[in-house]
């Protein structure tokens, strides 16, 4: 039975800068179920990091400002929780790991202590108990010889090891949700694969939901059960992983999927691209934010922001092409690793 543990409704978040208001998040809704892995995919500036950071209340306000929307955790409205109340949630109920393990660890503190500090903040626990749990956590994240390693300092470790330590710290209190903001982007390919395995293992072991923020579609295909695609501060398509890869409905999703060169394609054929760059969020457009770059744009798209429409169970997209009044278009050609096949089409 899927239990919704986090629900975000119409979240709006802006930054007040010297040049004006930046509408970083313009109405984002999603949810995550217990023990599920959700990927939020999008490019830089789309607001995926800000979304997750604002849920964890990690964005400094000012200049950030929650403009609207609601956040529910296990059904409770935590939108207006005080800093004190949020502190009780952070680390214990929801945790986060970041992209750069080099700067996220305290260089002057031993690894073991950084882990047990996290535990002690939320639970009354004896130093011995804390040590035992730290050793266990290091084992869970795949660090060999944990008894010795808890006494070491971060600088003795490589990037991959530090990321494992970060995960161990994040897991110290058994949170129900782990937000992972580009956790493998700065790692080597082989290390990235190892870290993903660790995260998968932990998800099952600890029954933890993971929200993975990334722009790497390969990782998403390997790891995520559901995907939300973000563009210019909004979610443009959401669905199960199979839906997004094999039956995508939003032109931006098509663009993203197309930008990974298909196997066998050589440089004599040009890579399909999305022309131009994302819009400036100082003056977000009235209609669909993808209008300027969309191959399929229609008159209606310029002035009217398309509403979210249901395509199948759990599969939603916001695009005027889904409206019954819209003309039909050539179906998106699904790229499978072994070759290409035709998609299910739009109708």
């Amino acid at each position: 039975m899927t239990e919704k543990i986090l629900e975000v409704k119409d979240l709006e978040f802006s930054f007040d800068t010297y040049a004006g208001e930046v509408h970083a998040i313009r109405g984002v809704s999603f949810h995550i179920n217990r023990s599920e892995s959700l990927a939020i995919v999008g490019e830089s500036g789309c607001g995926k990091s800000v979304t997750v950071q604002s849920i964890m209340r990690l964005v400094p306000t000012p200049p950030g400002r929650l403009k609207g929307g609601k956040i529910f955790y296990f059904g409770k409205d935590i939108t207006n929780y005080s800093d004190r109340q949020m502190e009780k949630l952070r680390g214990k109920e929801m945790s986060m790991i970041f992209q750069d393990p080099m700067t996220s660890l305290n260089p002057t503190m031993r690894i073991g202590r950084q882990i047990s500090e996290g535990i002690k903040k939320h639970e009354k626990i004896s130093p011995d108990e804390a040590r035992k749990r730290s050793v266990n956590l290091l084992k869970e994240v795949g660090i060999s010889d944990p008894e010795r390693n808890i006494m070491r300092y971060p600088h003795m470790y490589s990037g991959g090891m530090r990321q494992r330590v970060m995960i161990a710290i994040a897991l110290a209190c058994n949170p129900k949700i782990l937000f992972a903001d580009e956790p493998t982007t700065s790692l080597d390919v082989t290390t990235q694969a190892q870290i993903l395995e660790v995260m998968n293992h932990l998800k099952q072991e600890f029954e933890m939901a993971i929200v993975l923020i990334t722009h790497n579609l390969g990782i998403v295909a390997r790891f995520a059960e559901r995907i939300s695609v973000m563009y210019a501060g909004k979610i443009v398509e959401t669905g199960k992983t199979d839906d997004i890869f094999y039956d995508p409905r939003h032109p931006y999703t098509w663009g993203l999927l197309n930008s990974v060169p298909a196997v066998g394609k050589k440089r004599t054929e040009k890579l399909p691209t999305i022309k131009g760059t994302p819009p400036d969020l100082f003056m977000p457009p009235k209609g669909c934010a993808f209008y300027d770059r969309c191959e399929y744009r229609m008159k209606v798209c310029k002035e009217n922001d398309p509403p979210e429409r249901m395509i199948g169970e759990g599969h939603y997209a916001s695009c005027w092409l889904l409206d019954e009044r819209a003309p039909g278009i050539k179906p998106y050609v699904v790229k499978r690793h072994a070759g290409e096949s035709s998609g299910k089409g739009l109708m």
């Binding site: 930054f15 800068t17 010297y18 040049a19 200049p63 022309k275 131009g276 760059t277 400036d280 100082f282 003056m283 300027d292 770059r293 969309c294 191959e295 399929y296 744009r297 229609m298 008159k299 209606v300 798209c301 310029k302 009217n304 509403p307 005027w320 409206d323 009044r325 819209a326 003309p327």
Partner: protein
């Protein structure tokens, strides 16, 4: 504002056509780095206050002595130690000299020593530190070790020894500062140059075949200018204070040329009876130092790219 989407006519759902290259257009107005710095500095009221005070003091120091009917050395033994009055706005000292004029002539001296005593050692430090950082290797090592050795002895001792040799006065004082005060600046600039030297835009320049002079003047200097100016600005209060201290102990500026430090020294001997003679130069020193500090801080904040939103 919930729109009635159902009511949109069918003909709105027609394709618009090829996307133009509109998206490569830049929407925000162009602003150069220095203009941006100036804009941010301007907004900083505290820093601007500091600047205004500095400019006011400098202006007064130039104009007031010219307008005054008294000269700084003019004695009037019949009116000694007078309290501030409409005749003598700051009163007179123990030799009957008008304190108002002496403060402003002293301002010329203190400001000149303070400013040049900061700029000149800074420039020397920039050149030495720049050479050290840019060429690296043995040159760098020798220069840095030299600095390590020199810096073991406190700067004051060097200055006192130098002044004992070349005598006192504004120019000798500036020379003494120049000889002894360049080390900190050299170290800072060396560190900066080492960092910038390996930035990719400098590497690109080298790969394009740029000779050393081109890289130094076109890339290194503009990118260190801001920080050097800030440290020069923040070095002025230190120089002013050092001058005040030296003059106070009788070494810096000797009479009859007044300086604030010297005036403070003269005022100490009569402090209990005529406090204004010490208080006024002391306040001028403090006020000027504070103003340079506030302005320098503001300048540093304006240059810091991390605060760029």
């Amino acid at each position: 504002m919930i729109k009635d989407f159902a009511g949109i006519p069918r003909d709105e759902f027609e394709f618009v056509g090829e996307t133009e290259e509109k998206s490569e257009v830049l929407t925000r107005p162009s602003i150069s780095f220095w203009k941006d710095v100036w804009r941010r500095l301007f907004k900083n009221k505290v820093a601007m206050t500091g600047l205004i005070i500095i400019l006011a003091i400098a202006l007064f120091s130039i104009i007031i002595p010219e307008l005054s009917s008294y000269s700084y050395s003019q004695q009037n033994l019949r009116n000694i130690n007078a309290a501030p009055s409409s005749e003598h706005w700051f009163g007179t000292d123990s030799l009957g000299r008008d304190l108002w004029v002496r403060i402003w002539v002293g301002a010329r001296v203190s400001l000149a020593v303070g400013i040049f005593g900061s700029i000149i050692p800074s420039l020397i430090g920039v050149v030495i530190g720049g050479i050290s950082g840019y060429f690296g290797g043995k040159v760098d090592m020798i220069i840095m070790r030299l600095i390590d050795i020199i810096i073991c002895i406190p700067q004051m001792i060097y200055i006192i020894l130098i002044m004992l040799v070349i005598g006192s006065g504004p120019v000798p004082l500036i020379i003494a500062f120049a000889i002894t005060g360049w080390m900190g600046s050299a170290r800072n600039v060396r560190g900066l140059i080492l960092k910038i030297k390996q930035e990719e835009f400098v590497l690109a320049s080298r790969i394009l075949g740029a000779p050393h002079g081109y890289i130094i003047f076109k890339h290194l200097v503009p990118n260190t200018l801001g920080i050097v100016v800030v440290s020069m600005t923040l070095g002025v209060p230190a120089a002013i204070f050092q001058e005040a201290y030296l003059s106070f102990i009788g070494l810096g500026i000797k009479p009859p040329i007044p300086s604030w430090g010297q005036l403070a020294n003269l005022g100490t001997s009569v402090f209990r009876i005529f406090p204004t003679q010490l208080l006024i130069p002391a306040i001028m020193i403090s006020l000027t130092m504070l103003s340079f500090n506030l302005f320098g801080d503001g300048l540093r904040d304006a240059l810091d790219p991390k605060l760029r939103s």
